[in-house]
Amino acid sequence: MKIGVITFPGTLDDVDAQRAVRVGGNEAVALWHGDHDLQGVDAVILPGGFSYGDYLRCGAISRFAPIMTEVIEGAQKGLPVLGICNGFQMLVESHLLPGGLLRNDHLKFICRDQKLRIENASTAWTSAFRKDQEIVVPLKNGEGQYVADDETVKRLEGEGRIVARYVDVNPNGSINDIAGITNEAGNVVGLMPHPEHAVERLTGSGTDGLGFFTSLAEKAFA
């Protein structure tokens, strides 16, 4: 499958995400924020980084990048979209996912290998995992505290839309230890930790992140 990875000014993890896509057996397509063209890709990844220097709010300026028109339109029609870290922030700013992401409760940037539990293994991006499978992937963020009003949290919990939850340590004060969520249809996933940094033994904490990049194909050929 062709998976597009969008580069914004200030994106850091686009090259790692492209590599993860290839390691996962898919074709990576580099997409540019200033274009109005998804080049016919089957799915899109919004990678991590500090687009526009995190000015205004993280993801707030990128959310209005030209290519986001096509991403939002596509997502609403079922195009699989994965937002990692800064990409997750863009997804909440775009209102494709509910809630918001605030400064970590302890105010420090955090970088660690983080244990997660995959609680929803039926989204477009997580079907390669078993439900409740525990994985370890790198986490690195300054503004990763997920917040939402009580009603939204209740709905996310009730509808099984918590994709991943922090285990052992809540690294940023996220409500209910939420590390990632999905939309109602399950095609849009936002995740604060970085599975793209854990796809090869040579680097990173292991290969636990690979499932995020093989799920699409498994789903398509299932």
Partner: protein
């Protein structure tokens, strides 16, 4: 040139880690008696003329861009010339 000010604040029910950190620093600096600090943003927009249309447009841009209304509230106000002179 008339100035329109947009104040953006975290919603009351939303934790404000930055405000809390500022509050925490106050006693160390010898300031007592402050019980709460919340940190927000102030935008100053200059426009050629204050009209209902211009203000409606600024309200729209505050709602869609300057503030994230999921986590923040905003107030739009025209800054009076007297206020400016008092600075």
């Amino acid at each position: 040139m008339p100035r329109v000010v947009v104040d953006v604040m975290p919603k009351p029910e939303i934790l404000d880690p930055q405000g809390k950190a500022v509050l925490g620093a106050l006693p160390r600096l010898g300031f007592t008696g402050v019980t709460e600090v919340r940190q927000g943003k102030r935008f100053e927009l200059e426009i050629p003329e204050v009209t209902d249309e211009a203000l409606a447009q600024i309200d729209k841009l505050a709602e869609t861009f300057l503030a994230n209304t999921v986590i923040e509230n905003y107030v739009v106000r025209v800054e009076e010339p007297a206020e400016e002179m008092a600075k």
